[in-house]
């Protein structure tokens, strides 16, 4: 049995936990305000909100429910457009959309409204740019973005003075009053659900699929997943922390991109992390996509994989997915990949944790990504670079690149070659040449091989530019 709250209603369903929440909402609950545009998380028409208790705090975030398995709704508050309607009047977000003339055909509109409602419920500062960032996953093909921007501006203005989001939106009558009681209702649901979920998996006979956020699995294997036996790891309390032990940062496999963005450890270690994150998919996808999922998916252009490859991150693999038993092995991330979507890993093994050495004082790090569309797109080429210097000599360099070979690449030769060099124009040019000899890009929808090779050279140049100026 899967239990959660859908809008103002308690749900208990025996339907397959592998079906996507979108189908449950539309075809089982007949809530048709949530639209289907692409079923691959790329349009945002199916955006809904997910509320959950985090350290006794009720937090909401947006997701594209076409990629969210029903099982991941367990114990949460799922909010669709129907759940934020006032009986006979528009709420503040809806009014802002109306005032700005921000609807044309209207098909993307509920998704846009939900993203903005998610912004109202978030602890983000009420600034226009944050409101616009909230709709970064919503495609409007009437391309009425200017009016959506104007609506977002109005929403941000109306949120001035927001402290506790849930209290604010209910007392200001932005969202329906029932939101005020959700925290208590989720508490009541919580305990028995976790026990039940663990038991379900223990009962499964076949080897279960391991599902984190589902953002890739449900694009690649949508039909297969519906009736599959699934072990849900997204909400496992042992699997989504980000913490520090000495100079190491240890990341749970189910930590999402958004978790990284919000982590003080990550923010401190990578000054520009929020800029990098903005280049990675969209807000609702970042809210679901896990780091281990990005690694295991083995896409040659996985953004986080490229990010962590440059840091020479290590992964702990466990043959037993239940936490606490340390019988696994540890390998560098760069050793995980042996060919296109081929891993040095038994099917039984799972990533238990990820760790990397936090950047040394005085070191530099940069992440670059270029795609056809700057945001919400898959990279043509991405690259990350970590460098430690002593004086003007390179002590240690880690260079990674995606989209230039069958696997996400740690550019070993170039990285090793750089060690001991001084940074000059000639060294940069030689490094680019070495890197271009190390890669094997192919021509595809993301660009010709000539382009990818040129582009990688450019990205390497960009990595070095701030160092050259010193």
């Amino acid at each position: 049995m899967i239990q959660f709250i859908l809008n103002d209603k308690e749900i208990e369903t025996g339907l397959s936990p592998g079906m996507v929440l979108l189908d449950f909402i539309r075809y089982h609950q007949h809530l048709t305000g949530t639209k289907i545009g692409c079923r691959e998380g790329d349009c945002g028409a199916c955006t809904v909100l997910v509320g959950e208790l985090v350290n006794d705090d009720l937090q909401y975030h947006s997701v594209t429910c076409c990629l969210m398995p029903l099982g991941n709704a367990t114990g949460k508050h799922i909010v669709t457009i129907e759940g934020i309607n006032h009986p006979r009047e528009l709420n503040m977000v809806q009014q802002a959309m109306a005032d700005a003339g921000a609807t044309q055909c209207g098909f993307c509109t509920p998704g846009v409204v939900m993203s903005l409602a998610g912004f109202c419920l978030s602890d983000k500062a009420p600034a226009t740019e944050n409101a616009i960032a909230a709709v970064d996953g919503n495609i409007c093909r009437c391309t009425g973005y200017k009016s959506i921007e104007r609506a977002a501006m109005q929403v941000a203005e109306k949120l001035r003075g927001k402290k506790d989001p849930v209290e604010f939106v209910t007392t200001q009558k932005i969202l329906p009053a029932y939101f005020a009681g959700i925290k208590e209702r989720l508490h009541r649901l919580a305990g028995k659900i976790i026990a039940a979920a663990l038991k379900d998996v223990a009962d499964a006979k076949e080897r279960p699929h391991v599902v984190g956020g589902g953002t890739d699995l449900y694009v690649q294997k949508h039909d297969e997943m519906k009736d599959a036996a699934i072990r849900f790891l997204l909400d496992h309390p042992d699997y989504n922390s980000i913490h520090r032990e000495g100079d190491r940062c240890i990341i749970g496999p189910s930590a999402t991109v958004s978790d990284l963005q919000q982590s003080a450890i990550i923010q401190e270690a990578f000054l520009h992390f929020s800029r990098y994150a903005k280049l990675i998919s969209s807000t609702p996808i970042r809210n679901m996509a896990t780091i281990a999922g990005n690694f295991i998916n083995a896409s040659p252009i996985g953004d986080l994989t490229i990010f962590f490859l440059a840091l020479d991150a290590q992964i702990n693999l466990s043959p037993d997915p239940s936490p606490g038993e340390r019988r696994g092995r540890s390998i560098p991330l760069r050793k995980l990949y042996k060919g296109y979507k081929q891993l040095n890993k038994d099917p039984d093994e799972h990533i238990e944790s990820i760790w990397f050495e936090l950047p040394a004082p005085g070191s530099c790090f940069n992440f670059e990504k270029v795609s056809k569309r700057t945001h919400l797109d898959i990279a043509s080429v991405n690259s990350a670079f970590y460098i430690e210097m002593t004086g003007d000599v390179i002590q240690k360099a880690g260079l990674s690149a995606g989209g230039v070979g069958p696997v996400p690449m740690y550019l070993e030769k170039t990285s090793a070659w750089l060690q001991g060099k001084k940074i000059t124009e000639e060294v940069i040019a030689a490094a680019i040449k070495t890197a271009q000899a190390e890669i094997s890009p192919i021509s595809d929808a993301r660009g010709s091989k000539e382009y990818k090779s040129l582009l990688l050279g450019q990205l390497i140049r960009i990595h070095f530019m701030p160092l050259l100026k010193k």
């Binding site: 048709t32 305000g33 949530t34 639209k35 289907i36 692409c38 691959e40 790329d42 349009c43 028409a45 309607n85 009047e89 528009l90 977000v93 809806q94 009014q95 959309m97 109306a98 003339g101 609807t103 044309q104 055909c105 209207g106 098909f107 993307c108 509109t109 509920p110 409204v113 616009i132 709709v135 919503n138 495609i139 093909r141 009437c142 391309t143 009425g144 973005y145 200017k146 959506i148 694009v219 039909d223 795609s371 056809k372 569309r373 700057t374 945001h375 919400l376 797109d377 043509s380 929808a445 993301r446 010709s448 000539e450 382009y451 040129l454 582009l455 450019q458 990205l459 140049r461 960009i462």
Partner: protein, 773 residues
Amino acid sequence: MCLKPFADMRTFSYSPSGGGGNIDTYTHVRGESVYLDDIPVIAGTLYAAVFDSPVAHGKIISLDAYEAMRTPGVVRIFMAADIPGQNQIGGIVPDEELLAVSHVHFCGMPLALVVAETDEIARAAAKKINATIEPLPIITDPREAKEKGELIVPPRTFQIGDTTSTWAQCEYVFEGQTETNGQEHLYIETQGAYAVPQENGVIRIYSSTQGPTAAQRTAARVLGLPMNQIEVDTTRLGGGFGGKEDQATTWAVLCALATYHLNRPVKYSLHRMEDMRMTGKRHPYSSDYKIGLSKDLKILAYEATFYQNAGAAADLSPAVMERTLFHCTNSYFIPNVKATAYSCRTHLPPNTAFRGFGGPQGMFVIEAAIARAADALGIPASDIQQKNLLHTGDEFPYGQKAESEANECWNRMEELYQPEKMQQDIDAFNAANQWHKKGMAMMPICFGISFTKTLMNQARSLVHVYTDGSVGISTGAVEMGQGVNTKILQVAATVFSIDPARIKINTTNTYRIANTSPSAASATADLNGKATEIACHEILNRLKRVAADELKVNTEAITIKDECVYCKGAKTEWDWKKLVMATYIKRISLSELAHYTPPGIHFDPLKEKGHPFAYHTYGSAIITVTIDCLRGIYEFDSVKVVHDFGKSMNTMIDVGQCEGGIVQGIGWMTMEEIIYDKEGRLRSNALSTYKVPDIYSVPKEILIHPLETEKESLAVLQSKAVGEPPLMYGIGAYFALRNAIKAFNPSANISFDTPMTPEKVLMNLYPQPLKGG
């Protein structure tokens, strides 16, 4: 009781809570608007899925559906042999089978229709169908098709003056070639239909279509039924952009075919990848141009040859090709023109209407020719553009005389935005920045309003006034985000002078309004709005006569304003509701079906001359862009426009159409890249590989300044058509990028090949040395 006077209808805003310019806004923002897949399904509904050709060209050897048929839950699988009438869906040319019989002509061509108890079963079963197809040679390139004589229709040539004898008089002559890629419609609501059996063999089809009559006519033809047996009903579309003008028909007819045989409701709502794979797009064009200028930069002669990539069947291609010819000189007067167009048959899905309908493809070529000339002469393209703008009385190559606003728009644009100063700022920026370069381009537009097929310029409106004073209106217009329902409602509210809240615009239904033209060509509001205006006036006159009788005065003495009846300017005791009831009691009709055709339009395709357009819409834009010369990526800084709205009847809707059209046009010119491989398979087949603008790719600033005129009596309430024209401002994006690239790499040899993706930008910034092999 009379209402308080309400706001002027031109600044009309409506919603139960008082905001928004579109009557649909209230339900849109609440998720309560009903699209095809939201219609509550009737018990017993079955679900369909198409099995489509995996190869682009071949002979069907066998089609094995045995395994598929054995799938539990599969009800039946339909093939060509199950079609009771004609297996033919071609609208202009009867050259397209609904289900392939002996040959397949494109990847995605429907071969069979699986009908099952659920959507999932239907799709899973379709995957089990096995087609053995003997491959035949595949053509994807339009020039190759033309060489091999694969033409959809004979070529057409528009001609004015004599180019041949003019070249010698030209100081400068330039020639070249251009390529414009296609564009995926990507309406966020995919194609779909839902057929429901009625008594006596009637089939009602709910269809997400811009052309309900096309769906009705084709369903009748395929099923061998009279048209009155087919009812097509459309509430609204989640985007159309031309993609649902002709190509919504296939799904409507397939569902109807299954319903015809099974007498059960059958629904098919396409998955995104099915939609992208099986439907046509904006036509790619390959074109040649030759332009000749005088010493003072007057364009004396222009020749163009267009090779339209029509895909595997005619669809709307001949009409699209025709509009390319109509717009081949854009907003310019050129005394000697010869333009020839070939509609070339290739093995791609039949390409179809897309906002602009061939016009943008024609306009790109003349803009490229001008840019090429400007490059060679070392002058800004705007010098040539400005000198050649149309004046009133100038003749288009097709014989119509211009009523031009081109210079007015351009001059206003210069006054308002000071492009010279903008260019100076850009030059200063470029001098000061090594790794970022800006570029700017101007883009004047001129777009003809009317269906170029004269007979399609007709519309009907059925207006009922009910005895409680409420009003119901049905027309042939389909609402797809362009705001046509709001505009029609405004027309009625204005003529009757009543509260807009009394008026309801009904679904578009072929039982209420017959023989409709599709909602297309930017003309929907004009045609259906004018018909509504006539119907409302007819009813209003009857109401006035009743009031005059009751008040014992002449009809001329009666006016109705803000729901109050005035007699010789003085308010009376009579109001709208009372007058409506009195009219009913007198047994006078409160309903009217009005018919409208715009006067004065004609075209002779033998001479290729005439007066095909009711009027033209003009405008001028300045587009600026900044390129990141390290990464090859770019951001548009601004689009500054003066647009000829006539007298806009709904500023919010019209500005929305402008802003949206501009961004869609920029998308076509920049990131939207359709990729077919040599086998005719679509590689950009999902939203992950075909990118349309997101909120971060829109220009930072879009300024739309209205050129307000009240000249155009053929526009509804003098408010000119606005659906398509603004898209063509987006063409300027390509030329702005080109100029920015040249600021970094003055020797760049940039081919006229759209879209200008970040890949092409980077490759032009850093040209690669040619390598052997």
